[in-house]
């Protein structure tokens, strides 16, 4: 479906993103890209590969310093790549021998601090990127996008007269107005308070869905990544560790590092054998470890998520388990922090508010006897 401000002219001006070939190769395609800054030995990203399909909403999730923003700036063309290939709409735009400047890439950008032009009005900002139209056409198009982001009536305001959330909307309108091949957003919600962030997150999702825009969102907020995206790309150190739908990544993290990024959890060591894992907290059912058929116990890391565990009062002192160190009542549930005998801490969520109290000894089970996720325990497995 065509967005209301999309004219016929834009289609024959530059890239045609809807041609079958571009669907096959993706709207944005990065192939083992490496990018290093001058004077730095270690590249900011290396062996970074990503294929984005038309209309998709992808989040790149990673902790700060992982290279998320660099990846975005490589796609936009603000950084040159040292090796690998960057394609936009099937066209090679970045490699060690080719570099298309950002102004030629038709990429919409939303910056963390919005970077709106303080010397222009809202309308001036939104019209800025519209080229090759008459003044009247520009105004019509800008008005349509401004309406889309819910800022109708604010066209003549200056940027400093808007709230943070309104600036955010204008920044998105400005990026969408020239009908970009893809929209890139760099931590767009991080400057907003938590409540506004949740509201805007939904609005932005609706806006880009309505506009049919292919979107890449960079964030360090896992909730944001999980709630908005069609697919989440979890970034390890300088490259993508795992990519998949939010459910896939959450339910089947490929490594302890990914698991730690995608949701709050603890990792404790254990010994795995034939579908069971034995830990100091107890023995639990575990997911099958792929790979070699295991006849003897294997050292593993067990993923302990608060929502997948259950605790009950211990009956005898011989039970393996731990002592309740802290109970935090959070309304819908209570979160218990359990100190295991080795001193390691795990967390458990319970709906029931009564019963267990601080200092009490408890035994740990998995909720509904569901198997826990385990990872081979190799040195540095949980590090990112």
């Amino acid at each position: 479906m065509k967005a209301p401000w999309r004219g016929s002219r834009s289609e024959n001006r530059t890239l045609n993103t809807n041609s079958p070939s571009s669907v096959a190769s993706g709207v944005i395609h990065l192939e083992s890209v490496e990018c290093s800054y001058p004077g730095s030995e270690i590249p900011a990203i290396s062996d970074f590969s990503l294929l984005v399909q038309p209309g998709e909403f992808i989040s790149i999730l990673g902790r700060s310093g992982a290279g998320k923003t660099t990846a975005l700036r490589v796609i936009a063309g603000f950084e040159h790549v040292t090796s690998g290939y960057v394609r936009i709409g099937g066209q090679l735009v970045g490699s060690s021998f080719v570099h298309i400047t950002p102004d030629q890439r038709r990429i919409g950008l939303v910056f963390q601090d919005y970077a709106l032009f303080p010397h222009l009005s809202v309308a001036g900002n939104v019209e800025f990127g519209l080229k090759g139209y008459s003044t009247f056409e520009k105004r019509v198009r800008a008005a349509a996008v401004v309406d889309l982001v819910g800022m109708g009536g604010y066209e003549s305001r200056f940027i400093h007269e808007l709230s943070g959330g309104q600036q955010q909307r204008v920044a998105i309108a400005r990026a969408l107005a020239p009908d970009p091949i893809a929209l890139l957003m760099d931590e767009p919600f991080s400057n907003l308070d938590k409540q506004l962030r949740t509201v805007l997150r939904r609005d932005v999702k609706n806006i880009v869905t309505e506009a049919g825009a292919t979107t890449i969102l960079v964030t360090h907020d896992r909730e944001e990544a999980l709630a908005t995206s069609d697919r989440v790309a979890v970034m390890g150190d300088r490259s993508i560790e795992q990519i998949g739908t939010p459910e896939e990544v959450y339910l089947n993290p490929v490594s302890a590092a990914v698991a730690k990024l995608i949701g709050p959890c603890e990792l404790i060591s254990g010994s795995y054998r034939a579908g069971l894992v034995e830990t100091e907290a107890g023995t639990f059912p575990a997911r099958e470890l792929t790979g070699d058929a295991l006849s003897e116990p294997k050292q593993v890391l067990v993923l302990m998520r608060a929502s997948e565990l259950e605790i009950n009062a211990a009956k005898g002192t011989e039970d393996r388990g731990g002592i309740i160190e802290l109970r935090e009542f959070e309304g819908e549930f209570s979160e218990y922090t359990i100190r295991l005998d080795s001193g390691a801490l795990i967390r458990v969520r319970r709906r029931a508010a009564e019963g267990l109290s601080k200092g009490q000894r408890v035994v740990v089970q998995t909720r509904n006897n569901l198997p826990l996720i385990v990872f081979p325990n190799v040195p540095g497995a949980s590090e990112i």
Binding site: T14, L15, C35, S36, Y37, P38, S40, A44, S64, G65, A66, G67, K68, T69, T70, A76, F78, E79, H80, V81, T82, Q91, L92, V93, S95, S96, F97, V98, H99, I100, T101, P102, D103, Q104, R105, R106, I107, G108, L109, F111, Q112, D113, A115, L116, F117, P118, H119, F128, G129, K131, I159, H160, R174, A175, P178, E187, S190, N191
Partner: protein
Amino acid sequence: MNFLGVKSTGWKSSGKQRPPALLITSAVFVAIAALLPVVYLIARSAEAGSDLLDIVLQANALPVFGRTFLLIILVTFFSLLVAIPVAWLTVKTDIPLGRALSVASVLPLVIPSFVMATTVIEMYSPKGILQGWLSVFGLSRLSEIYGLTGATLVLVLMTYPYALLMIRGTLRRMDPALEEAARAMGYGAFRTFITVTLPLIRPAIAAGSLLIALYTLSDFGGVALLRYQTFTSTIMIQYESSLDRTVAAVLSLVLVAFAVFLLLGEGFIRGSGAYHRSTVGAVRRARRIDLGRWRWIGFLVVLLPVLVGLIIPVGVLGHWLVRGLLHDQELLPLLIPARNSLYVSLVAALVTVIAALPVTILVVRFKSRLSRLIDRSTYIGFGLPGVVVALSLVFFAINVALPLYQSIWLLVFAYGVLFLPTSVGALRSSLMQVNPRIEEAAQGLGKSQLRVFFSVTIPLVMPGAFAGGAMVFLLTMKELPATLILSPIGYRTLSTSIWSSASEAFFAKTAAAALLLILVAGVPTAYLTLRGYGSSSEKLNQTLTVTSNEES
């Protein structure tokens, strides 16, 4: 089909974008032009060869050197003694008429040193106005004003506003929480000032001292009228009295070395601590300190330099003007010099700001070895006295570019070299407030780098361009030695016509011209001072604030 205009970059690919060729070319051109006087001076002095040392000794350079050094020390000391308390009192305390005084205290800036000197002689010399008042009370004769005393007084009045502006800027930008923290830990107002405030404004004091020292080194009009021979006036005498300009060239080179020595000294005073604001977020306005009974003492402390540096000189000029009009004395013709001054100052301001633009953008946005080199070379004018620049441009024009000789373009060129650092400085602080993401956003919206500069960068640094231009305009109006040397024959500006009658001690004749000069030069100064208070520019800056949490 190649939709995107693929082109091979040819560079070793890594890292940031490269600056457009046009930007580099123009910045390099400006840098070469700025370096030209010094390079030519060295070439010219090299002709003297082994006689170089003889020339310096013959010209009696060592005593002059000593006198100049003594003057610099005294002027710097007393200027800071005025500037630091005045800055603190006008920014931090509730003295009466605080706002008016804070504007008035920088206004001595607009009075050229030779005008200041004439009024000082009229006022404080043994035959002057003050002696007349004092003799009514039967007080003894004032001591001689000519020489070190008078020169120091004039230069202190001339230079303290520069230090004041710098220190005040730093005080205003300082996070009030730092001082509040000290107060909360039980420090009194005075101890807080000594232990927290003073260390924090140390870079500003260092930069201010440097400015004072360089100004003192390069001043010609003031010291010449007060008959205190410094390096600059020696060069001027050499240039005017002998046909062989080699002596002047060699002495100029020594003067440049002196200036470089001062520039190196500034880095030493500044120290190596970090002086950034420790917090992010908007700066709160600090509550002004309630001085209580001391308010009026503070008021007098700020009033004193305003009285001596502004009210008395203008009063003396007004007195002369009225007396001259009443007695039908001959006054200087005003119209043509005023028109020339205005014209040449406007052209100089425009040319200098335009030259500063590519340099500033390159230096701030594209950090590299080349851009640092260009930056440094444009700073040369900062350390070059007007005499030196003018002399080397004379040599240059006579030997290389004769058509330029005796044209006002050579004069504009000299002003450009001298005042380029001023406008680069103003533009730089303006550009540093512009978030680079704004330019990237524009580029992401399909504008080439060059078009981004014109449609986004330049509009956003306009306040800086105006500030820089206004400052260059003011400095050009006041400039004397280069104007004397380079003005085409018969081309009189306000400053040269005031000078020629003042140096023959026809002070009263100059009153009208001097007042006009002060008035015209006062316009940009008032603009600059008032801009510091503007609320709209502050609002603009808030939206420009950079919160760079950039990953690397």
